[in-house]
């Protein structure tokens, strides 16, 4: 149920550390029930933005409201209604899975019986019920991540903030996590997700902003962004091991846009197979040609001229 009154609203929001402007004045609003993404490379200002929304760090300038409240004046009240999954798990490694939840719940002033009941549900949700008495130290990376998410839900948050939820996890662990987050989303929890994985943003976000060097450079749904900033298909050509720069000029006539990467050339085209045939017909002989659909990676490349993950 998406209503019109924003849960989070930012106007000219900025954060500086000394001379460094981590967030350089951004505007966005997030509606209840939305799943909102911040996409960008490391150092784009995503984490600083998350910390301000989490009402942990104070904005240097600009306006920010969460649940209609000003975090500078109502930090503890806002935080009691938030769930935060930080980039690092910040779990107590020596303690058991269950104790991590029991102890964290007390930070929210919840009575023991309430925490206990919720812990059982959350361990079920995180598929960790059979690990409840194991020390966290012994869990896999994916399990720790799921426990961190379970922990962030102990206060039944209206808004869940996830900073790079699947960075460093193997594909299987990531898919399991996405499935759990999707379930939360369908239960009506508002999600804010930062990621530098395009597939993650495409899977989880209704709407997202692309950040680069502290600025928002584009905003929309994944589909809209791809339509606005890229073509339907992409033809990836590889020409052996020598520099790919020399192929740029020869390939320009075949595509709407050509991007040269160290190991391949990307041709932005409406129909990849057609373009590949045309390239061959012109006597060019790439070692391989791969046709794929455009992704948010291409959007980012088109907006900034750089790839997301270096």
């Amino acid at each position: 149920m998406i209503t019109d009154t924003p849960l989070v609203q930012a106007r000219g929001l900025a954060k500086s550390f000394g001379d460094f402007r981590a967030v350089a004045g951004v505007d966005f609003s997030i509606l209840p029930g939305e799943s909102f993404g911040f996409l960008g490379p490391n150092g784009a200002g995503k984490t600083s933005t998350m910390k301000m929304i989490s009402s942990v760090s104070t904005p240097t300038s600009g306006d920010l409201s969460i649940f209609g409240l000003n975090p500078a004046a109502h930090g503890p009240e806002i935080r009691s209604r938030l769930g935060v999954v930080p980039q690092d798990d910040t779990l107590e490694l020596e303690l058991t899975v269950l104790d991590n939840l029991m102890m964290f719940g007390r930070y929210f002033d919840l009575p023991r019986a309430v925490i206990r009941e919720r812990a059982d549900e959350l361990l079920e949700f995180a598929q960790l019920s059979d690990k409840r008495n194991e020390a966290v130290d012994k869990l896999s990376g994916g399990m720790k991540r799921r426990l961190t998410i379970a922990r962030s839900l102990i206060n039944r948050p209206e808004l869940l903030i996830l900073d790079e939820p699947t960075t460093g996890l193997d594909p299987q662990a990531r898919h399991l996590l996405w499935e759990r987050l999707y379930r939360l989303k369908s239960e009506g929890v508002t999600l804010i997700i930062t990621t530098h994985y395009m597939d993650e943003a495409e899977q989880l976000c209704n709407r997202l902003v692309v950040m680069d060097k502290g600025h928002i450079v584009a905003e929309g749904s994944p589909r809209q962004l791809i339509e606005q900033h890229s073509t339907r298909e992409v033809l990836e050509l590889r020409f052996g091991i020598e520099s790919h720069d020399r192929w740029h000029d020869a390939l320009v006539p075949f595509a709407e846009r050509v991007e040269v990467l160290p190991d391949r050339v990307l041709l932005y085209v409406h129909d990849g197979d057609d373009a590949l045939r045309a390239v061959h017909a012109a006597g060019l002989t790439p070692e391989s040609g791969l046709v794929r659909r455009s992704s948010l990676e291409d959007v980012f490349l088109s907006l900034t001229g750089r790839t997301l993950v270096d």
Binding site: S57, G68, P86, L93
Partner: protein, 268 residues
């Protein structure tokens, strides 16, 4: 214009600082096994070796020390020294752990707790640990038969004050660090010399007059003297007041500095 419906979450009604302290107690309750040995055994070992070993030697050569048998004399100083050790131990590695390694303090400030609450909870917890250490010492001293005055009952409180004078400044120092390397230096060049030279094992009158001000500059000296006054119910009121003031000033200044550093480190 609040947007979300007002929620009625069940509440315990505890203050944030109390919740933070509870967390530390709970953590300690789950992981105390390593420290129980030092808590109970060290007082016994110290009193046994110092009191009976060294004490026997002292008593048979020099007789009384400042009017007391050696074991009676040395016990309150050992108590002060031990609370210093407990307090400083809690104020070094665990602080860097919460800020940098497990980052539990970062997790805490993402909840309704503030950096001030996290710090207050930690200090409350350390104060309680030092109090229990003092109580255990008192029990061991009683068992060794060295309690001579009812004033001894304030020893655990004196021990907390001594310990806090090290705890809050060291927490403040630890929260400026990125690595634990300086802790070895703190132990080698600060805590160990104080342990050896703060007139814990013999009266300050044993030092040449020129050296006494150096000893009096050491915070532990004031802790040892305060404990001794408490144990025997003796001492000039002015001197006692001076000891208390030194320890309180260190505690308050350390707390102030630590608050500043916690805010910088956790919510910047």
């Amino acid at each position: 214009m609040a947007t979300a419906a007002v929620r009625s979450e069940p509440r315990l009604g505890w203050s944030p600082a109390r919740r933070s302290a509870w967390y530390h107690f709970e953590f300690y309750r789950q992981t105390w096994r390593g420290s129980v040995i030092s808590n109970f055994l060290f007082p016994i070992l110290y009193l046994a070796s110092m009191g009976m070993g060294v004490g026997h030697l002292v008593n048979s050569h020099a007789g009384l020390v400042e009017g007391h048998p050696y074991l009676d004399f040395v016990a309150p100083g050992l108590l002060a020294m031990t609370t210093m050790q407990v307090g400083s131990g809690e104020s070094m590695w665990p602080i860097l752990g919460g800020l940098k390694w497990t980052k539990n303090y970062h997790a805490a400030v993402a909840t309704p707790l503030t950096p001030d609450d996290v710090l207050a909870g930690k200090v409350l917890f350390v104060a309680a640990r030092m109090f229990f250490t003092g109580v255990i010492y008192l029990g061991v001293m009683w068992a060794f038969g060295v309690l001579t005055s009812w004033w001894s009952l304030i020893l655990p409180f004196a021990g907390v004050l001594v310990g806090l004078a090290f705890t809050t400044p060291l927490i403040a120092f630890s929260s400026t660090l990125e690595s634990d390397a300086p802790f070895a230096l703190v132990q080698r060049f600060l805590l160990t010399p104080m342990f050896l030279f703060s007139a814990t094992f013999y009266p300050i009158s044993q030092y040449p007059a020129a050296l006494r001000p150096v000893v009096q500059f050491m915070p532990l000296y004031h802790g040892v003297e305060l404990s001794r006054s408490a144990a025997f119910g003796t001492g000039a009121p002015l001197a006692i007041a001076a000891h208390v003031i030194v320890l309180v000033v260190l505690t308050v200044a350390g707390w102030w500095w630590a608050r500043r550093n916690f805010r910088r480190r956790l919510v910047l």
